[in-house]
Each structure stands twice: as structure tokens, then as C-alpha cells.
């Protein structure tokens, strides 16, 4: 089909801009990693010095090992637990599932920085729960500053990532296979482990790979819980490298970044292959549409107990810790809650212009930035919608690339882009830099939202417009866009929450004028300003909660 220039130009432009935004920062990282000094240094030269240096550093290998341990361990925790929760929520008659569901998703909407901080103030050596436990039972038999604790916490807080895929797959499974096992005498949990979960193995595998590479990207958690004991993982190793040689060690950071991407990118590609496989699988198994809930009977206590325990540990403990800590002056052994209650922490935030600017910027980047981002994602969606050519496949892969780049690295890469290209320098100290980095980092997530909306539009509705005489752009404007408008509003809300939650991407982009809560938390935590961290964390949680409340009120689907 010979398309006119009016049709191809906007598409070519969209693809070009997307490709630039995704590939320029990555190329810059790769380039920087092959230099022996920062790129602005006049004495730079091409070479492998940076790799030689980090490969000779035992800390690097220790960090690598820790990352692998944590990633593997948290996968082993998150996958079975996520699968089990999905089974209970999706296939059984447990009561209260309506209000449990949003709670199950909370950890994926709260900043890991905030959650980690929550664990410190709730369950750390002098945390609320530790102190109370010692007062009541004479001991608090847990510690949070160890690899094991980090693994367990990371595993528990990544349960939602497994849960969403597992429950989507379970929805497609006919209930007759479960009933057959039940009739043969299997208990509900037996049914889950011997029938339902094996049948959704492709989805579990897919989410297992997801959790594993998310493990390599962890930053907030090891920063807060690993640092006090000197436990490094790859991202915190990179973060601490900044001034290892006395001067900015950009080349070393780039080399570490390349190593991280070298681990995550193959996993992202693997994940894509698995997704294709699981779709095929689902469509085979999805035939029997009849769904019947499995009666739990007496097992409901166990099921309810598992869910309750998970919610307590993964949601209530950290969030209540933050909420309490934000309203006290200090806390420790022998302190009486009633005597330390205060609003001073919020007063300090209120009086500090950079904090207020951070809050304002965070709202701005979520609301206005989120809208612009959804508009951009929609444009990309339309560039590939119903076109099955090489360019569409290119974009499909392109949008996956940022998935493999942890936010911390992406922020660093964008910082370099803004420094490297002089015309862009003025934008560096505006919120635009952060917005661009956010939009690229969340590209894969956002495109899934957009394309699931687009997929729901029946092709015939568009074809009807074309045969009535509408050129492609008018089909998009008059038919497709109006039909997906609710989906887009929902995406805007989800992107808002994601942007409120984001922290690592903004760490390196933090500058006067571009403060956002997430990055401020990192820098305040580094400086030990616990009171401010507590207050800002609570503000951050409230912002996300507002988004979540609106989403629930209007029935926005919280997962695609």
C-alpha cells in the first residue's frame, strides 16, 4: 500500500524521537564505559581501563554476588507466594476478596525507598515493633540489616509482580480441571499445587524472570538496609563509586552500568519469548469459559491467615512505621508515645523551600508530566497500531530496552546526555530533564497499558471508517482515540502513581529546580535527616494513596 507523505511523516517522526530518547543515553553509557576518564576530561582516550579497574576490585565481585543472591532468593519467595495468593484470590470463595485485592497491589505502588525506611523505623533495632516486642515478650528475634532480611523483604514486596500475571493466567483457566482434582479427593491447597499452578507455569516462569531481574535493579532497599552493615549490591556499588578516584569516576560507573545491563537485557529478551509462549498457552487452555469458585471450607482460616500475614508484614508494618515516625520527635527504648507526639516534622518541611518545591514538582511531574507522557505513549502506540511491518517490530523491541536499564542508570545516562550535548544544557536544571528520564524509564510499562487499550478496539470499527472514506489519521482521530479515551484516562492515573513513587531515576538529576520527593528522600537519608525523611515519606504515601483512591473510585483496572 502506497501511503502518502502526510501519513508516513508523523509516524517516522514519532519513531525517530522514540529511538533517539531510548538509544542516545544508552549509547552514551557504552561510549563512556570505553573511555579511561570522564567524557568531558580532555585527557580521555578509548580503552578498557574502566573494566579492568572494576574487575580487579573485590568489592565489585562481592556486590555482584550479593545482587545474584538477593535476586535468586527473592524470586524463590515471591513466585510461590504470588502464585498461591493469586490462586486464593482468583479461584476460591474466600470472603473479602474485593477489598483485599487493592491491598495486595499496594507494595508495587509505594516507593521502595519509603518501604525500606518504613522497615527501619518499624522493625529496626529501635523500631516501634521491636521496642514493643521487647517490652511485651522480652525480645525481638529479628534483624533487618542482613542479606537474608533484604532478600525476605524484597521477596515479600515483589509478590504483587507475580500476583498480577498469575491471576491473569488463572482467569483463563477453566475450573473443570480443578473440580476434577477436587472430586478425586484433593484439598484446595493440593489442587493449587498439583493442578492450577502447574497449568499456569508459563506465567509463573515469566514473572519469575521479571522478579529476578528486578532483583538486579534493587536500589532503595540495599541502600537503606545494606549500607549500615556495608553490604553492597551492584546499584549501591555504582552509587558509591562517584568519587572513588577523587575525581568523578564516570567511566567506572559506566562500566558497572554496562555490566548490569548485560545481565538484565538478556533476561528482558527471555521474558519476551516467555510471554509469547504463555499467550499461546493461555489461548489453548482458555476454551472452557465456565468459572466456578472452589469452596475452601475449613481451609479458609489457613488461606486467610497466609494473606493476612503477608499484608501485615509487607504493607502494615512499614506503612504504620512511617505514619508513626512522622508524628514523633524521636523514638527508642523507654520512650512513651504520648510524650513525643509532634507536628514539628511537617513544620520543618513546610518551612524549607526546597522541600516544598520538591512536593510541588512531584505533583507537577505526576499530573502534567503524566498527561504528556501518556500522550507520547499514545503517539507511539498509534505509530505501530495495526501495522505489521519492520518498523513496528523495531518499536516493539525498542520500548523493551528501557526495561533492562535500572532507573538509577537511566537517570545517570540522561544527566550525561544533558551535559554532553551543549544545546540541551539549559534544560538540565528544569523539570523537563526528570520528566524525559521518567518517560523513557517507564516506556515498557506504559506501552503495555496503551496497547492493551488499543487491542480492545475491534479492527472492524476502524475498517468501517476506512471503507467509508476516512484516511488513516482520521480513523485514529474519529474512531480509535474516542474509543480508548477511558483506557487512556486510566493509564494517566497509573502513570501518575508510578511517577509519584519513582525515586532512583531522579537521584542523579537532582538539582535546584528539579527536586522531587523520591530523590530528596535518598539524599536526606544519606544525610541522616530522619525526621524529614519520615515526614516526606508520609507525604509521598499520601500522594500515591490519592491516586489509588481515585482509581478505585472510578473502577480503573490497577493492572493490565
Amino acid at each position: 500500500m502506497r501511503a502518502s507523505a502526510a501519513e508516513t511523516l508523523p509516524r517516522a517522526f514519532t519513531i525517530l524521537v522514540t529511538a533517539t530518547a531510548v538509544l542516545a543515553p544508552l549509547s552514551l553509557i557504552l561510549y563512556q564505559s570505553l573511555l579511561n576518564a570522564p567524557f568531558f576530561d580532555a585527557r580521555k582516550a578509548i580503552g578498557l581501563d574502566a573494566y579492568r579497574f572494576i574487575f580487579a576490585d573485590p568489592d565489585f565481585w562481592q556486590a555482584f554476588k550479593n545482587s545474584g543472591l538477593i535476586a535468586g532468593g527473592m524470586t524463590l519467595i515471591a513466585v510461590p507466594l504470588g502464585g498461591l495468593l493469586a490462586f486464593v484470590m482468583e479461584r476460591t470463595d474466600l470472603s473479602g476478596r474485593g477489598w483485599i485485592e487493592p491491598l495486595l497491589l499496594v507494595p508495587s505502588f509505594v516507593s521502595p525507598m519509603v518501604l525500606s525506611f518504613g522497615y527501619v523505623v518499624a522493625a529496626g533495632p529501635v523500631g516501634f515493633y521491636s521496642v514493643w516486642s521487647r517490652e511485651l515478650f522480652g525480645g525481638a528475634p529479628w534483624g533487618i540489616y542482613s542479606i537474608l532480611a533484604m532478600t525476605v523483604i524484597a521477596g515479600l514486596t515483589h509478590v504483587p509482580n507475580v500476583y498480577v500475571y498469575a491471576s491473569a493466567a488463572l482467569k483463563n483457566l477453566g475450573s473443570d480441571v480443578e473440580e476434577a482434582a477436587r472430586v478425586a479427593g484433593a484439598s484446595p491447597f493440593r489442587v493449587a499445587f498439583s493442578v492450577s499452578l502447574p497449568l499456569i507455569m508459563p506465567s509463573l516462569l515469566f514473572s519469575g524472570v521479571l522478579v529476578f531481574f528486578l532483583g538486579f535493579e534493587l536500589f532503595g532497599l540495599p541502600l537503606v538496609l545494606g549500607d549500615p552493615e556495608g553490604i553492597l549490591v551492584l546499584s549501591t556499588y555504582l552509587f558509591k563509586l562517584t568519587n572513588k578516584l577523587g575525581t568523578p569516576s564516570y567511566h567506572l560507573m559506566a562500566a558497572v552500568a554496562v555490566c548490569i545491563v548485560a545481565v538484565t537485557f538478556p533476561l528482558v529478551l527471555l521474558q519476551r519469548q516467555l510471554l509469547k509462549g504463555s499467550r499461546k498457552y493461555a489461548s489453548i487452555k482458555g476454551k472452557s469459559g465456565r468459572m466456578r469458585e472452589l469452596p475452601l471450607g475449613g481451609w479458609k482460616w489457613l488461606a486467610g491467615g497466609v494473606i493476612g500475614a503477608w499484608i501485615f508484614v509487607s504493607v502494615l508494618v512499614p506503612l504504620s512505621g512511617i505514619a508513626l515516625r512522622a508524628f514523633v520527635t524521636n523514638w527508642g527504648e523507654g520512650v512513651r508515645l504520648a510524650e513525643v507526639l509532634t507536628l514539628d516534622n511537617f513544620r520543618s518541611v513546610w518551612e524549607e523551600p526546597t522541600m516544598m518545591r520538591g512536593i510541588w514538582n512531584t505533583i507537577l511531574i505526576g499530573v502534567v508530566g503524566g498527561l504528556l507522557t501518556v500522550a507520547c505513549y499514545t503517539a507511539i502506540g498509534f505509530a505501530t497500531h495495526r501495522r505489521n511491518d519492520g518498523w513496528s517490530r523495531f518499536v516493539d523491541y525498542l520500548v523493551l530496552v528501557p526495561r533492562a536499564v535500572p532507573g538509577l542508570l537511566a537517570g545517570l545516562a540522561f544527566l550525561w546526555v544533558f551535559l554532553f550535548f551543549p544545546p540541551l544544557r539549559p534544560l538540565r536544571s528544569t523539570l523537563f530533564s526528570g520528566w524525559l528520564a521518567y518517560s523513557v524509564v517507564w516506556l515498557a510499562y506504559g506501552m503495555r497499558l496503551i496497547s492493551s487499550s488499543l487491542l480492545q478496539v475491534s479492527p472492524e470499527l476502524e475498517e468501517a471508517a476506512r471503507s467509508a472514506g476516512a484516511p488513516r489519521w482520521r480513523v485514529s482521530r474519529d474512531v480509535t482515540l474516542p474509543l480508548i479515551r477511558y483506557g487512556l484516562l486510566g493509564s494517566w492515573l497509573l502513570v501518575f502513581m508510578i511517577f509519584e513513587r519513582e525515586y532512583s531515576t531522579a537521584v542523579y538529576l537532582l538539582a535546584p529546580g528539579t527536586e522531587v520527593i523520591g530523590a530528596q528522600l535518598v539524599s536526606l537519608w544519606q544525610g541522616g535527616a530522619i525526621d524529614l525523611v519520615a515526614a516526606l515519606s508520609l507525604v509521598n504515601v499520601v500522594l500515591v494513596a490519592v491516586g489509588l483512591g481515585i482509581a478505585l473510585r472510578f473502577g480503573v483496572r490497577l493492572r493490565d
Binding site: 500500500m1 472492524e460 475498517e463 476506512r466 471503507s467 472514506g469 476516512a470 488513516r472 474509543l483
Partner: protein, 351 residues
């Protein structure tokens, strides 16, 4: 004059050939049905004509205009073909009112507001949708939705309108009314229409000419009478009506007739195509052509009655011939026993 000409169209999905050289034409003011079993490629052909699928060989002309020609590398996009297309699912835009659905084609053609309003009003009235303009598609019944889809395709006066199984989404009772309505509308407005259907009675009732598509090829085309009354292949004979079918061997050929024999029976029939003694053939006769006779005279067999079924307007009797069941219509019930069945030789086709 041909409004639509399709020449030697080939189309495949991947390696899977769907259309294997289809040629057809549609004259002005004619209603042609594209008939065939499900999966035979009817929708694909219609979509290729509309410009929604790209054939890899062949040519399509609308009037004098070449809209597709693989040899000359011409392919006009769907929006420039100016055809009316009615989808099987109707594909009404759920976010537009009935009026806006219908008016969209005029808006695209930059017809002034006032004139557009008049034309939409006119076509809605013609289709009996007069007062429904302000409704949304989900507020309409199935029959009304179907008529909106037709109105939307008619409003800009396309030279040809294409309808993909326009009746299949209606329930049985409504379908017969809609069939009559559609035929009457097409004739009254003098439209040239290509109608896809998998239902032979629908095709016969609605069209001037039928194209029977089988496995990507046109098996036979002709008027409904020709298709029903003189099928050229077993497939056409089987597809166009309800038949009795007997397998046997040709025993002798004489005067354009042939005698076919089976186990313990023998009948005269009319060979369709070449035949010679000894050849295995299928004998096919429409159920309504089998008569109950009163004696052995003529082309008859004496068979035991196995059961009778009351169908309301007639009875259907089931007879047994070895392992085969033979059906015949009658006006009343029959007592158990054996009966003479007559098979008029010119109605018993041998394939």
C-alpha cells in the same frame, strides 16, 4: 455494464492459500450472492474488494476504475475505493449516535451540513429508522443495528455495496423478515450489491445470481434456478438443497441415461459429465423429487418404511435401503410396511 470486476484473484495468509484464482463480475442493478461453506474465503474476497486485504495476484476494477492490479502495481487504499461495506458484526461506532454513524461518510466527503442532514434523514427514513437518529447503537435492537449499518454504507451513494453475512446476527424469525426487506430495498433503490452468505436459501431468495465458492475457487455460478435445478458438480448439488444420496456402479449407458446398480437395487439416472459402465458414481436426488408410487412401473424401488416425522406443513418419511436412509415427503402419515418410491430419471443426477 459491470460495476465490479474481479479477475483471477489470488490471496494467501502466510503460506496458506485462501483465494486461488477467483474471477467474477457484478452488473449494475444486480444482486449477486457469494455463497459457500464457512472458511471458503467469502469474507476474504469481500475484504479484498474493499481494500482491507492485499491479494498477491489478480485485478479488481470498480466501474472503469482499476483499484487493484498486481501486474501494474496498482493498489488503491480502502478509503479511496468509495464502496459501501456492511460488516457481519455491523461494526457500528459505539461512541457516535445513529445520526453521526450515518453522517460520517458525508462529513468525510465535505458535504455541507444542511445537505448532509437532509440525506441522512432521507436514508434513515428509507430504512425505517426515522426517529432513532439521536440514539446510540447499544440502545437499538439487533435488527435496527443492522439497518443502521446498511444506512451508513448507502448514504454516500457508492456504486457497489458489499454486505458480509448481513442476516447472520439476527434471530431466525427476524432473519426472514429482514431478508425480504433487504431484497426489496436493494431493488427499490437500484443498488448493485454483493452479498456474502453461507445459507443457500438466503442466497436464492435474495439474489439475481449466485457464485458458489468452494475452497478458494468458484465452483459454479448462475441464477438461483440454475444452481438449484442443474448443478454441475456433486458439491453444488449437495450444497444447494437437501438430497438423497446413493452410491453405486454404472451398469449400462443408453440414450443419454445411465443405469446405476447397488446391492439389490438398480435405477436409471442422468449422468452429469462423462460416464462409462463400471464407474463408481453417486446418485443424488432432491428429497422433494422422490414420489410415493403405487406399483412397480417406472424407475421405482420397493423399500420398507422405518419411521415418519411430522414437520407441520408436511410429513417426512424415512425408508431403508441397506445401510442408507432415503427420505421422501408426503402429505399424510403412513402405516408401517413397504412402499414403492419413484425416482424420476431426469431428476436423479449421477456424479
Amino acid at each position: 455494464m459491470a460495476e465490479l470486476t474481479v479477475e483471477n484473484l489470488h490471496l494467501r495468509y502466510g503460506d496458506n492459500p485462501i483465494l486461488k484464482g477467483v474471477s467474477m463480475n457484478l452488473d449494475r442493478g444486480e444482486v449477486v450472492s457469494l455463497l459457500g461453506p464457512s472458511g471458503s474465503g467469502k469474507t476474504t474476497l469481500l475484504r479484498a474488494v474493499a481494500g482491507l486485504e492485499t491479494p498477491h495476484e489478480g485485478a479488481i476494477r470498480i466501474g472503469e476504475r482499476v483499484v487493484f492490479d498486481s501486474a501494474a502495481a496498482i493498489e488503491l487504499p480502502a478509503e479511496h475505493r468509495n464502496l459501501g461495506l456492511v460488516f457481519q458484526s455491523y461494526a457500528l461506532w459505539p461512541h457516535k449516535t445513529v445520526y453521526d454513524n450515518v453522517a460520517y461518510g458525508l462529513r468525510l466527503r465535505k458535504v455541507p451540513q444542511a445537505e448532509a442532514a437532509e440525506r441522512v434523514g432521507q436514508v434513515l427514513a428509507q430504512l425505517g429508522l426515522g426517529p432513532l437518529g439521536a440514539r446510540y447503537p447499544h440502545q437499538l435492537s439487533g435488527g435496527q443495528q443492522q439497518r443502521v449499518a446498511i444506512a451508513r454504507a448507502l448514504v454516500y451513494n457508492p456504486p457497489v455495496i458489499l454486505l458480509d453475512e448481513p442476516l447472520s446476527n439476527l434471530d431466525a424469525k427476524l432473519r426472514e423478515e429482514a431478508r425480504a426487506f433487504l431484497r426489496e430495498l436493494i431493488v427499490r433503490l437500484g443498488l448493485s450489491a454483493l452479498v456474502v452468505t453461507h445459507d443457500q436459501s438466503e442466497a436464492m431468495a435474495m439474489s439475481d445470481r449466485i457464485l458458489l465458492l468452494n475452497n478458494g475457487r468458484i465452483e459454479q455460478q448462475g441464477t438461483p434456478q440454475e444452481m438449484y435445478g442443474s448443478p454441475r458438480t456433486l458439491f453444488v448439488a449437495e450444497f444447494m438443497g437437501s438430497n438423497n444420496r446413493l452410491a453405486g456402479r454404472v451398469a449400462e449407458v443408453r440414450d443419454g441415461r445411465a443405469r446405476i446398480e447397488g446391492e439389490g437395487w438398480s435405477l436409471w439416472g442422468t449422468p452429469k459429465g462423462e460416464t462409462a459402465p463400471g464407474r463408481e458414481v453417486n446418485a443424488v436426488i432432491r428429497i422433494e423429487q422422490v414420489k410415493l408410487g403405487d406399483g412397480p412401473e417406472g424407475n421405482r424401488l420397493r423399500l420398507p418404511l422405518s419411521t415418519s416425522m411430522y414437520l407441520g406443513d408436511k410429513w417426512e418419511h424415512l425408508f431403508r435401503l441397506g445401510a442408507t436412509a432415503l427420505r421422501a415427503h408426503g402429505t399424510g402419515d403412513l402405516a408401517p410396511g413397504e412402499y414403492w418410491l419413484e425416482f424420476p430419471p431426469d431428476r436423479l443426477w449421477l456424479f
